[in-house]
């Protein structure tokens, strides 16, 4: 045990607190007063920090932790609070390349009253640094130190199966962010028989745009920014980022809508000075030709922005998710009614972002047609917004146990 902890760099907490924490601490109540105070203090410290302006992702997290949102969440889960207790010890493995993700995972672990061990990304992201600092400041207040210093362990370690096995052996829930390969590798380390696991595997996301409504839309600049944030903000590599755009409408409507849509997006890319690395252009060509070899009936649509590759699809395939590249590689498919999408949807499909549709209508459609995938239906621009329901999991319920009486 000592040997494994020696290989770990604690950024919040230390070895001693860790050993004590595992022996004596119990869960806190779900959405306990102390926890919500702790989180809202973190939010306040973050908003005061001067760097926050440069990092919209940190600002979004701070906004999520503000008092009014915490109260709202608590109200939503009021029934769960009374009948549930946190599972105990959570082992979070944050993704290596989304800076703020660990904070949301931790958030879910905290509001459910658990002890949290968080493996941070090994890269030294500025965002991670800012959030850690804020946590440290709040944690230094005595009332919080007493409660949270033995419940909160944020750490880094180099690739090491022994360390992963050590933390896995003692956790009640293991939460793995970061893709199929990571999950398969981590799973070589067993968790106790009664423990559970939440895995966020590689996912595929799509956008659905009503062509006519888009043409009629007055503020196309805002819409373009929303779409840009869904995609290019993270090089179209976030699992929530749409890879295929389904256009609904008549041929004429779709042609007009596409023309406008891509023109606006190109302008946005220029404004944001979005650039791709040379190797990424080669990656796109590799992806495109791989798709051509496999599917046969696709065409490269000419595009005046070299960062944007558009792939025109003439029929629907159920292995679309295999051909994603990121950094501006989009498939497009025209439909005249929603059901035409269904054959494409497999288990990998996660987020359906939409424009020009009623949310309830889309929900009813998914509910009645029951495709194997699609866990989230959100408007364009909201794909990355965190929610305690994520990837088909209700995190509050998954991280707590229910007492039957």
């Amino acid at each position: 045990m000592e040997k494994n902890l020696d290989k770990v760099e604690f950024l919040i907490g230390d070895k001693l607190e860790f050993n004590q924490g595992l022996l004596i601490e119990q869960s806190l109540d779900l959405f306990s007063v102390e926890t919500l105070d702790f989180l809202s203090d973190i939010s306040e410290v973050l908003f005061k920090s001067p760097q926050i302006r440069n990092f919209p992702d940190v600002a979004t997290f701070a906004f999520y932790c503000r008092r009014s949102n915490l109260n709202l969440l608590k109200r939503n889960y009021i029934n769960n609070i009374n009948s549930r207790i946190g599972k105990g010890i959570l082992f979070h493995i944050a993704p290596g390349n989304v800076p703020v993700n660990f904070a949301y995972s931790l958030f879910a672990g905290l509001v459910t009253g658990n002890i949290n061990i968080v493996k941070l990304p090994s890269k030294g992201f500025e965002q991670v640094h800012i959030i850690l600092n804020a946590i440290k400041i709040v944690l230094s207040k005595e009332k919080f130190n007493l409660i949270f210093s033995k419940r909160l362990f944020l750490l880094k370690y180099d690739r090491d199966t022994e360390v992963t096995s050590f933390f896995s052996k003692i956790c009640d829930v293991r939460i793995i962010w970061g893709g199929d390969q990571t999950i398969n590798e981590i799973r070589k380390s067993q968790i106790p028989p009664k423990s559970t696991e939440i895995t966020f595997s590689d996912r595929y996301s799509i956008a659905l745009i009503n062509a006519k409504n888009y043409i009629d839309l007055y503020d196309k600049f805002k819409f373009t920014t929303d779409f840009y944030n869904d995609t290019f903000l993270f090089d179209q590599n976030a699992c929530t980022a749409p890879q295929t755009i389904f256009w609904l409408g008549s041929n004429e409507e779709i042609d007009t809508a596409k023309l406008l849509f891509w023109k606006f997006l190109k302008q946005k890319l220029i404004k944001m000075q979005y650039e791709v690395l040379p190797i990424v252009s080669v990656d796109k060509l590799v992806t495109f030709y791989s798709q051509a070899i496999n599917q046969g009936d696709i065409k490269l649509e000419s595009s005046d922005a070299s960062e944007i590759w558009r792939v025109d699809n003439y029929s629907i395939h159920n292995d679309m998710n295999l051909f994603k590249c990121g950094s501006g590689y989009f498939n497009e498919y025209s439909i005249s009614k929603l059901d035409e999408i269904l054959p494409a949807i497999n288990r990998k499909f996660q987020t359906l972002s939409y424009f020009g549709f009623q949310k309830e209508h889309l929900f009813d459609w998914i509910k009645s047609s029951k495709p194997l995938g699609i866990d989230r239906i959100v408007p364009v621009g909201k794909t990355m917004d965190f929610s305690l329901t994520w990837d088909g999991y209700d995190l509050v319920n998954s991280l707590s146990r229910i007492i039957y009486i």
């Binding site: 989304v98 893709g179 590798e185 190797i279 030709y289 070899i293 065409k299």
Partner: protein, 363 residues
Amino acid sequence: MKKTDLSNLPDIPLYTYTKDEKNKFFLDRILHLFNHHINESKEFKRMMTSIDFDIKNILNIKDLPFIPVRLFKMFELASIPIESIVKTMTSSGTTGQAVSKIFLDRNTASLQTRVLSRIISSFLGSSRLPMIIIDCESTVKNRNHFSARSAGITGFSLFATKKLFALNEDMSLNEEGLKTFLQENKDKKIFLFGFTFIVYQHFYKELLKSNTKFDLSNSVLIHGGGWKKLITDSVDNKTFKLQLNTICGISRIHDYYGMVEQTGTIHMECEEGYLHTSEYSDIIIRNSKDFTVCDFGEKGIIQLLSLLPLSYPGHSILTEDIGEILGEDECKCGRKGKYFKIHGRLKNAEVRGCSDTYGEKFR
């Protein structure tokens, strides 16, 4: 299009065609190759269809599309029936990495040998020479497995009257063998061949340690395979030549640029230090953003064209190397054709987003 027998390549005196002669000869041939692969390879046809490729629109070599070399690692691309495959070559990848698979039939294999031998002899002279292979013998022993390294050695060995492997099985220097071989071939021109990294790591560094002084001033060294592994030693071509010259007196050293996907049409380094296209190959530098053609003197991604690949669609490939063409027909060495330099490889991307970097590390 009138039918051309693609395996019947004319023997043009190498490095003599001027720009116009070359373009006329090359474009006609390469377009026939495009046609051939579209007809014979389902995969290639799908790729060309997906970009609306039409031979009628090609007026210049610069208009020719290309497929990324990485595809040869992902797909088995062949333009011949399986029963015609006489040899399968693979690229030298480290363990766990995907390797390129290149399928050869009799025609393509013999074209490769023929063109390679003509290119080499234009540098070495037409008579065969005693040859020192800077590698160990087991590299070529496995006849079922043709890696780039073994293929290179086998290909270049055609010029040998007799051969010596300069390295023992443990990659240490075979000093005794070397001494005897040099003694036996005193006053003769000797041909040395090896892979750049191996020459430096297992030959030069060993000579440096050795108490014996070897005199190779009458030899010619041809080496290739790239400089990537020598970056840590910060050895560039100039240093490499200087150091080898100091340790064993060798002054004729030629690097070459080639790849397993286009075996045969290698690009030899001339006396001026530039790599040269021959009549059977061509190079285009492409802008890394939109793949438009770069001017001479501008760096970009290298597209390589070769007239030899008949059995697989490797006649127009996009490498992941960065290069720069310095000019055409005007190299001081007197050879016609394009002359160019390599500036390393494209850097790998650091992805943002929730993809699998953590997992990558486990591989």
